[in-house]
Symmetry: C2
Amino acid sequence: MRIAVLGTGSVGQTIGSKLVSLGHDVKMGSRSATHEKASAWASEAGPRASLDTFAKSASFGELVFNCTYGRGSADVLTAAAPGLDGKVLIDTTNPLDFSNGFPPSLFTGGSDSLGEQAQRLLPNCKVVKALSHVTASVMVDPSSLAGGDHHALLCGNDVAAKQQVTKLLQEWFGWRSVLDLGDITASRGIESYVALWVRLMGQLGTASFNIKVVT
Amino acid sequence: MRIAVLGTGSVGQTIGSKLVSLGHDVKMGSRSATHEKASAWASEAGPRASLDTFAKSASFGELVFNCTYGRGSADVLTAAAPGLDGKVLIDTTNPLDFSNGFPPSLFTGGSDSLGEQAQRLLPNCKVVKALSHVTASVMVDPSSLAGGDHHALLCGNDVAAKQQVTKLLQEWFGWRSVLDLGDITASRGIESYVALWVRLMGQLGTASFNIKVVT
């Protein structure tokens, strides 16, 4: 499949490399068609990896991952908008505000989220919030924790898009348990958890963890 | 031990009844010394259960549970302040804002929390944020879920107070795993999780659940 990964950070690189290793054609989108980090990634990831602008990468992808940092997400999606029409966008972003140092606060407040902002900005795009609650390495290799006995959380307005993403998480990345939390407003819940995540990271001394929901 | 429980809702009643069943003397604090719900609770819970105002209940307790609803917490703690000096206060509150219906948002924003507000309001009190992330029945009976294989989260500025609360959670309520997330500012993380909790409750169709942190 042709897949676009918007963003050149650790999330974009980790997801991009995993998708290439699975045989997909992956284009990493960034501010320029010759972005240094994207070029270095594409060289290392092999012939199925390429790079281009946000807009051209989005047009290339049959499926798109938004792996930008939270503060920049709206600008990136605006730039990429024409290429995202009708497509499934997997939104991995978090609204982290580091302006007062660590631990960060969330800049979206209690009654909005980046997932909802993306869906409002792109009404013809099928936004599925997913993967944002774990560190990059866990996103693509959940079996590295507790034999995979923990949960992926997702939400979105389009049922078929959520089914596609659920299957993708299971078959491509190896997630055993995927919890659908409802429509895109549930992004508030998923993104708010990140305020706990940063505290857990501080206590555990590692970013390689996740939660299992037990009943 | 003499214990005060501030608040007459399901959390106060459930914790109060459990403490009475363990042989403690429990006074339920409310707006009046003859509060209807507190009277009904005390009648049912037996001779070790009693009721009084917030102020007199706090003075009675060697240990105090804050089980008020979030919006009312500051007023209750102000009323009870003289009786809380030097004591350990276990804060179970959540900053839930139902003004826009369900699911609620959080009224504290991303850079404050009710745990911190309580500690600022009561500088000589040892505030320990705990139990706020599970429903009342799970607070006092964690073994009802997955054989108890999940986590209690707590935080606070006073190390000895946290050790006392940890022991209490383990020995009185049966919590097997207690995670100390650091100083009272970690209340932001614990309370923010509640925005996810309400979505999980909607999806799971029950409030009887919790999270296990896996590494």
